[in-house]
């Protein structure tokens, strides 16, 4: 059987030229125009609308975090004070880290695109617990407000890792910020829990476990981490707030507590959390590479299993953040080996993506440009992860700019590339409109270039010995810092261009048609944008695995 036998493959083209213009063609208005009051958005339980609200929020926080990143870079232009004082700088990088991680990156792909796409990819009408889904959004908003309020009123200066005992003794505002992080944790848990149950109970007939789109596998693995790891950071934030207010002494060395134990608990969450940030990106890229090379995924099972492998082994590599913390040599050895194993799972994915392009039919569109960047950044960022995971090498590198460059390579290089690829790949699906391809490619080039210019100098700075979280630095580090700041400017430029043409496309872009990429991904089976209940008519069935391009397609959509 071919996908063409699926009942909706030869669907109706929406073909409208303004939002919802011809929605009345079929009696099921698309989700964007089905109810236009503010209330119909704020109280919606439609996974697509919730996904969009998450998308808008995370974009907002990305902007805020990015502006602070630029402020940091500007401050680092000169060895001495440039535009702010030390206290402001310390608060700025704390705020940058906390916002980027908790308010942007963790919810970015799962809560925004996961929410939108997972039910569509499963042929379900919604997630398993729609109301919980909405609650998750409001919990996120509550936590975000608390956190931002705290950071504006006093500001936290501990770094995003809020290590004890500094965080216990600092005179800056600990309570609201960390309590905000605690609240956001619930949102993360709720979303993850929802997705796990959804994948277990909402798959349409035909979608067996090994016919799940790889994006769903990635989100599933991510959700497992979210559910299992987040409670620990929740507890820890509460304990630190408690310590700060009441002096329990749990992590305070002056009272017999152990600061290294704090780090164990912190990284028990925060190391797996980096896979919360990157696994969804891997999922997006699996979809993108298959769709644009019109090829089945090379080694589907290997990619699917490696997601679970990363999720599982990733839990037990946390000690690699603590090689020089006073942790025992024995533990360093255990965590060192496990760190290496995680790397292997990622390598499997990388090789299979390259294999997917092999003998494919590549259409070099914007998302694919991001895929190219992503591939390079993932290997380089990941391999530098392995480098710092090599116990003796981490001794000089720990807490220097080498580590900063490593994690930006993965978090910006891999995840943001995937986030941008996802926006561009699914933009027509979500809004039924097309953006300008030329600008897309130009900004992608700009971002990839700017990115390299920002963070490659930071690797060198790390080698050179510049510690992170430095407001001022010895003279000899200046040249590389200036290079990095210049790169960041380029990078910011790229984002501004994207913001402009996507905003334009949102209102004036030409209609995209149902499936402009001619992708066989499951989500494209329904309309673009999909109607409120995702399908018109009977529930679709999925006779083939996703991204199956073998048989000649007699009745495929001709052109857009």
């Amino acid at each position: 059987m071919t996908p063409s036998s699926s009942p909706t493959a030869e669907g109706v083209l929406p073909g409208h030229d303004d939002a919802g213009g011809h929605a009345e063609h079929h009696h099921h208005p698309n989700y964007l125009v089905d109810g236009t009051t503010v209330k119909s958005w704020l109280l919606t339980i439609d996974h697509k609308r919730i996904g969009l609200m998450f998308l808008a929020s995370v974009l907002f926080f990305f902007l805020v975090g990015g502006v602070f990143a630029l402020a940091l870079r500007v401050e680092l232009l000169t060895p001495g004070p440039t535009v702010m004082d030390a206290m402001t700088y310390n608060r700025a990088f704390t705020l940058h880290g906390l916002i980027m991680i908790f308010l942007f990156m963790i919810p970015a792909i799962p809560a925004a695109f996961g929410n939108f796409m997972v039910p569509l990819m499963l042929g379900a009408k919604d997630v398993a617990f729609p109301r919980l889904n909405l609650a998750s959004f409001y919990i996120y908003v509550t936590g975000a407000v608390l956190m931002v309020w705290g950071m504006l009123n006093g500001g936290l200066d501990t770094g995003w890792t809020f290590y004890a005992p500094y965080s216990i003794h600092t005179t800056t505002t600990v309570a609201p910020v960390l309590f905000g992080a605690f609240v956001i944790g619930f949102s993360s848990i709720a979303t993850g829990l929802n997705f796990i149950v959804t994948v277990h109970t909402m798959r349409a007939p035909g979608i067996t476990w090994f016919k799940l789109p790889l994006f769903v596998w990635a989100i599933y693995a991510t959700s497992c981490i979210q559910v299992l790891a987040t409670p620990v950071i929740g507890l820890l934030t509460l304990l630190v707030v408690g310590e700060n207010l009441f002096d329990f002494g749990l992590f305070d060395p002056a009272r017999g507590g152990d600061p290294v134990l704090f780090q164990h608990l912190f990284w028990f969450y925060s190391h797996p959390a980096v896979y919360i940030m990157v696994l969804p990106a891997f999922g997006v890229m699996s979809e993108v590479v298959a769709a644009y090379s019109r090829k089945n995924i090379f080694g589907y099972r290997a990619v699917a299993y490696s997601s679970l492998g990363i999720a599982f082994v990733g839990f037990f590599a946390w000690g690699h953040h603590m090689f020089v913390s006073g942790q025992s040599t024995f533990d360093a050895g255990i965590f060192g080996v496990l760190t290496m194993l995680v790397g292997v799972f990622t390598a499997i994915k990388v090789f299979n993506w390259v294999g997917t392009v092999y003998k494919g039919a590549v259409d070099f569109r914007t998302p694919f440009a991001y895929f190219c960047g992503f591939l390079f950044f993932t290997v380089f960022g990941g391999m530098t992860g392995i480098a710092v995971g090599t116990v003796s090498l981490d001794v000089p590198w720990h807490d220097t700019y080498f580590v900063v460059a490593h994690f930006h390579f993965i978090m910006v290089g891999a995840t943001i590339m995937a986030f941008l690829a996802a926006i561009h790949y699914w933009f027509p699906k979500m809004f039924g409109r097309m953006y300008h391809e030329g600008w897309g490619l130009v900004s992608a080039a700009l971002i990839i270039l700017g990115f390299n210019a920002t963070f490659i100098p930071q690797f060198l700075l790390g080698n050179y010995g510049m510690p992170r979280r430095y407001y001022e630095y010895p003279e000899r580090f200046q040249a590389l810092n200036v290079a990095s700041t210049a790169g960041a400017t380029l990078l910011a430029f790229g984002f501004v261009i994207i913001a402009i043409y996507l905003t334009y496309a949102l209102f004036y872009g030409r209609a995209s048609g149902k499936n402009p990429w001619r992708s066989t991904g499951y989500e494209w089976v329904s309309e673009s944008p999909p109607p409120t209940h995702n399908f018109v008519g009977p529930q679709p069935t999925f006779p083939e695995e996703p991204h199956y391009y073998l048989a000649p397609k007699k009745d495929e959509v001709k052109d857009v």
Partner: protein
């Protein structure tokens, strides 16, 4: 709307009707084990006292999980969830403990039995438990 891989075991198991006897028997066992753990706990068995207590607690916990919480009737997925979380808890406890047990003695909290330093908060309680003072730092080994 349908779903693939639908099985009916959980439904059937849950629907199946038992009397209340099962609950009472489990309750009895729980009471008995509580008694046992209190008695053995009062004996303050030297080394394995806490271990024994934890084993008993695990047995009690398993009974509650399986019968009161019906895990025995539920689907594999539910059991997997429980199993994985328990495994993670155990590993999460094991790694930091291994750390304390094997680190450089000077890095452990002063006053603890794996450290040679004095706890300044309790100077009078030093007694014989602490030997040697900071001189033992001279012993340049990583392991205790």
């Amino acid at each position: 709307m349908a779903i693939v891989n639908e099985t009916h075991t959980e439904h059937r198991n849950m629907q199946e009707h038992h009397g209340t006897a099962r609950y009472w028997i489990v309750y009895g066992a729980l009471l008995a084990f509580t008694l046992l753990t209190v008695i053995t706990g009062r004996m303050h068995l030297p080394t394995f006292g806490l271990l024994l207590a934890l084993v008993i607690a695990t047995v009690k916990g398993t009974l509650v999980l399986l019968f009161f919480m019906h895990l025995i009737d539920h689907k594999g997925a539910n059991r997997l969830v429980m199993g994985v979380s328990l495994l993670f808890v155990i590993l999460m406890i094991a790694a930091p403990m291994a750390d304390f047990a094997t680190r450089f003695r000077g890095s452990n909290p002063p006053g603890s039995h794996v450290s040679d330093l004095k706890d300044l908060n309790f100077p009078e309680a030093q007694g014989d438990a602490i030997h040697g003072g900071s001189h033992d730092l001279k012993n340049p080994s990583t392991h205790p």
